[in-house]
Symmetry: C3
Subunit: 135 residues, 3 copies
């Protein structure tokens, strides 16, 4: 009913884990319920977005890089590197948790919906994501 997965990231961008989530839901044996996805970090976030054209993911990444640039000279929290405070801001503008309905032991995602970890840091990170199914 609950598990934790690790997603290894190697720089900013979107990392899809729809298949890992689907595998957990199938294995949990819950017919109808809610899958909760929660990321245990404050400098990356969760996102459901189109998984057909990779350009969508690149454009999403670039939009957030442009609206939260690294060189905002008024930032105070800068000791962890120029990408750290922008990472917190981008995380605040997206999601820390997602709630996805399950029916017939499968997520009710739309045709083009993929589940992503949105990494906002430049350095590689091991990201912990909790998956939980409620009836």
């Amino acid at each position: 009913m609950q598990t934790e997965i690790t997603i290894e990231t190697s720089g900013q961008g979107l990392y899809e884990f729809t298949r890992e989530a689907e595998r957990f839901v199938t294995g949990a044996g819950v017919e109808t319920g809610i899958l909760t996805i929660f990321v245990r970090h404050t400098s990356c976030s969760m996102l459901i977005q189109e998984n057909a054209d990779p350009d969508v993911q690149r454009d999403l990444h670039e939009f957030f890089a442009r609206i939260v640039p690294e060189n905002m000279e008024w930032l105070r929290h800068t000791q962890e590197g120029p990408d750290d405070m922008p990472a917190h801001i981008k995380a605040a503008m997206t999601q820390v948790s997602l709630s996805i309905p399950v029916a017939r032991s499968s997520m009710l995602l739309g045709t083009w919906q993929g589940i992503y970890l949105f990494e906002h840091r430049r350095a590689p990170h091991s990201r912990k994501v909790v998956l939980h199914i409620s009836p």
Copy 2:
């Protein structure tokens, strides 16, 4: 305990469906629980906002139109029209799912809270929204 509703949209803006959600909650016969609302699309989103003054909804729409304009020349994903990639970005900046507590078979919304589908595309669309009640 779970249903899917369709919301017909006719252009960008907010479409309230608080009453449809309340009707589902009343009919489900769950005294205390959580209503999960999930939209099965990536170019519209979910929003809880003030339902008293319609100007709030217009200003929200205009803010997002200004901060994610259609003419960003650096966008790559443009083959589905100038409003498509901005729609994905606006959806990423708002919500795909909402979790609303239920007590005495009624949603615990605040006095001014209404539930909206936020349509980000210009053309009419049929939008699928899943409603699910957990105890």
Copy 3:
């Protein structure tokens, strides 16, 4: 399984209530489940962010103040004060609800994650937040 807490605010910024949430979870006696947090207002919001360096909270507040300034001359909803419509916009850009997994009767927060009410109004307010645990 469900309670409502009140958070008194005295101006814009982040108000942490991680300890109040943890106390509720401990008292509920649910081993494994989901804590849902829902704010019953449209001019403040919910946020999980770093609770180590207070500068992170100040920078978050300042970023949103800069990206949603009070003097946008095109706003229509202005009769409740210059900070009201920006408050609705900032609430729309962040969260109204959070879903946090619980294991061994404790929230599965990451090391640096704190739970905050993000107040977007200048005047003092009493904010109602519902906490609910599902199995």
